[in-house]
């Protein structure tokens, strides 16, 4: 117990710094930003939730997962089922069971239930998948994502098929998204200093030694898998309330790769890496988009051609990884002592 509290004392600064950074971004945006810019920041906070959610599993276990956006899909659709007005559901989603058609829950309760549904699904699937490790586990999670995508794209009466479903109330603004991001960062932090989190990290770094010390890697992995599924399910729900439409296509390969890239570019074995990866990549993308629209330089507008933004961001990612193969944070946590950052969760 004493050890735990000293661990807490040594690492809490990371949590505080990360939260302060997020709050600072939100406050500055609120003071200075335009409406479209505010939406960019909201989207970024949701991405923080997603990437930190992936980190809870991937960072702690060392197993790359391609499947986590499946939980986002489950969460977003669950939020749609819980919050769309009954009249609209009868028409657009007639296959839903009656009790679902007739319920319309408050947004926070619905988001919580959406997370639970994703977690439940993860618990069931994870019992099978978590037995695998390495690349086989990665492929299995990808197969899981593909199955979720195919089912949600074709089960027309319950999900509306490949089309978007609408009628989800707009809710997620900058403060909700900030709250979500902070909450997720806290969850991730608490998990990684928990007994299970430490055991899983031990298993990641030294599988044999950890197993010999009585760590049940499969069980710890399952715990991380379920927690991360819950977090991403909630993020999916908030995303639905942010965009007002959900569509299976939005939760497939595109978002899988962008979130994984953010995680790896930031540094996949540290919480700071997950958060900073999102902030840095989102920042660069936004900068390039401004350039694409054109910048006024003493009367002449300088603009880069449309489409160059995507090419540049790809190149920037390659270059960052070339020089920092373990990510911008070098897999370490940010602490008060900026010079000599400590290793994660030591």
């Amino acid at each position: 117990m004493a050890q735990r509290s000293s661990l807490l004392a040594r690492t809490i600064s990371t949590l505080i710094i990360l939260i302060l950074i997020l709050v600072a971004i939100a406050v500055v945006t609120k003071l200075l930003g335009s409406r479209p810019f505010e939406r960019t920041v909201v989207e970024m906070f949701i991405r923080v939730m997603l990437v930190v959610g992936i980190y809870i599993f991937v960072g702690n276990s060392g197993v790359i997962s391609f499947g986590h956006m499946g939980f986002m899909c489950i969460g977003a659709y669950a939020a749609a089922w819980f919050t769309i007005p009954a009249v609209m559901k009868q028409v657009s989603l007639p296959g839903l069971p009656n009790f679902l058609i007739n319920t319309q829950l408050p947004i926070f309760l619905s988001a919580f239930l959406a997370g639970l549904l994703a977690a439940l699904f993860a618990l069931i699937v994870g019992r099978i998948l978590m037995r695998l490790s390495g690349i086989a586990a990665s492929i299995a999670t990808f197969a899981m994502l593909a199955v979720i995508n195919v089912v949600y794209s074709n089960w027309d009466s319950v999900t509306g098929g490949t089309g978007s479903i609408v009628g989800i109330p707009f809710y997620t603004g900058i403060w909700t998204a900030l709250g979500g991001a902070i909450l997720v960062v806290i969850i991730a932090y608490l998990y990684q200093i928990s007994r299970s989190g430490l055991a899983l990290r031990a298993g990641r770094d030294e599988a044999t030694a950890a197993a010999a010390s009585g760590v049940n890697i499969v069980r710890e992995r399952l715990i991380a898998f379920v927690i991360s599924a819950f977090v991403i399910g909630v993020a999916g729900a908030l995303y639905g309330h942010f965009l007002g439409v959900v569509n299976p296509d939005a939760f497939y390969l595109g978002v899988t790769f962008i979130t994984l890239s953010m995680l790896v570019v930031g540094g996949m074995n540290s919480l700071s890496g997950a958060v900073m990866g999102v902030i840095v990549i989102s920042g660069i993308i936004q900068l390039l988009r401004w350039l694409e629209k054109g910048v006024d330089l003493g009367g002449t507008t300088l603009a880069i051609p449309n489409g160059l933004q995507e090419i540049t961001i790809g190149l920037v990612m390659i270059v960052i990884l070339m020089f920092r193969p373990s990510g911008l944070t070098r897999n370490r946590e940010i602490t008060w002592r900026f010079k000599g950052a400590t290793k994660p969760s030591e």
Partner: protein, 394 residues
């Protein structure tokens, strides 16, 4: 010479977009894709819309005021789409024109709806692009996908004497499903017509060999194959069907209109597409052919498919509604739009009601491709509008 002219007209567009906005100008905002996947589909219709705006401005403007265009790029991304919608609204847009596809256009349209402004989809053909999927101020100027399927079924039944139909659905998009839904709605209304078989595939399938084997296993070749798909998978499917020696007429949605892909299937014949207007220079309405010429002068190329036309139609019907309402007030404009019944446009009549802001019945040209040459062969309007209740169920 035409290149020079094109440059000149392009300059006019440039002025339309970047010229200084006067307080008196009416602002029309395009929240469409200028990059990414949807760009190739948004740009042609947007150019057509700009042509109509230019015509209106040259003729003295709308309510005596000039129309000024502002744009924002959705980057073919849903979240960016919502931002683009806000951006043009912040620039004072009275009308927000959004991406061609319902899924990509909806976020921007929802932003316009929340701001109480009228929004138009460039060419969306889903029932959701309008009241059910956005709200009471949202419209689409194209014709529903279901009407295309229903039109082809009824036309083939009457003019090609087709009785035994086969249905092949690509499950990729709502548009594809929409065509087949319209076909399914129409078929039971045709006496003695029967469905001899049905199958699905995926647009990205590298090979549809097993689907073709199933058609070939039928005791006799069907009278017509209803093919509900779109680019790029359509070309592959058509090519493979013909390569397998199946010669039955193929009925399609408008998504495969255009001659740009025909080189992939040399000497394609017995192939039918519904279109709102002909891009092949043989439209029964000479004004359409004039428009095609104008489009070429402005953009430097012929229209690539009929999906250019809805852009022109939308500015046309919106500006008429504004003139009739004598106001830009969204509710007043919507009320005038909803009074339109068989309103003539260059590309077929348009009807809007308080129940549906889309066309559930429409005049289509039937384009037949023979030996790789498409040409208008007929014109068809389904005998009965598809009821809104049926459309929503699908």
């Amino acid at each position: 010479m035409s290149r020079l002219k094109a440059l000149g007209l392009a300059a006019t567009f440039g002025a339309l977009i970047s010229g200084p906005a006067l307080a008196d100008d009416i602002v029309v905002g395009f929240a469409t894709a200028e990059s990414g996947f949807m760009q190739a589909y948004d740009k042609p219709a947007q150019d057509a819309a700009l042509i109509r705006i230019d015509e209106i401005n040259k003729a003295g403007g709308l309510l005596g005021r000039q129309i000024k265009v502002v744009t924002a790029d959705t980057k073919t991304d849903r979240a960016e789409g919502a931002k683009a919608g806000l951006e043009v609204l912040d620039k004072g847009a009275e009308l927000v024109i959004v991406s061609c596809d319902y899924d990509f256009g909806a976020p921007a349209a929802l932003a316009a709806e929340a701001a109480g402004k009228v929004s138009f989809f460039l060419c969306a053909e889903s029932i959701k692009a309008g009241i059910p999927g956005v709200g009471p101020h949202s419209f689409s100027s194209s014709v529903l996908a279901a009407v295309q399927g229903a039109t082809m079924a009824e036309w083939a039944y009457n003019k090609k004497n087709a009785r035994k139909f086969y249905r092949l659905l690509d499950t990729w998009t709502v548009y594809n499903k929409g065509i087949c839904d319209g076909f399914d709605w129409q078929l039971p209304r045709l006496k003695d017509a029967e469905l001899v078989g049905s199958d699905t595939f995926k647009n990205e399938d590298a090979s549809i060999a097993s689907q073709i084997s199933r058609i070939k296993a039928l005791p006799q070749e069907p009278d017509a194959i209803m093919l509900c798909t779109m680019m790029p998978g359509a070309v592959s499917a058509i090519k493979q069907i013909r390569a397998a020696g199946i010669k039955a007429p193929i009925l399609n949605g408008s998504g495969v209109d255009g001659s740009y892909w025909l080189s992939a299937v040399p000497d394609l014949s017995n192939f039918f597409v519904p279109a709102q207007g002909s891009i092949y220079g043989d439209d029964p309405n000479p004004k359409v052919n004039e428009f095609n010429k104008k489009y070429k002068e402005v953009t430097g190329g012929d229209p690539s498919s009929q999906y250019v036309y809805p852009g022109y139609v939308l500015i046309d019907v919106w500006s008429k509604a504004v003139e009739r309402a004598k106001s830009l007030d969204a509710d007043a404009v919507v009320a005038e739009l909803e009074k339109m019944k068989d309103e003539p446009t260059l590309f077929g009549p348009r009807t809007f009601t308080s129940e549906i802001h889309h066309q559930n019945k429409g005049r289509y040209l039937i384009i037949e491709t023979t030996n790789g040459k498409p040409a208008v062969v007929d014109e068809w309007t389904i005998s009965e509008a598809i009821p809104v209740a049926d459309l929503l169920k699908q």
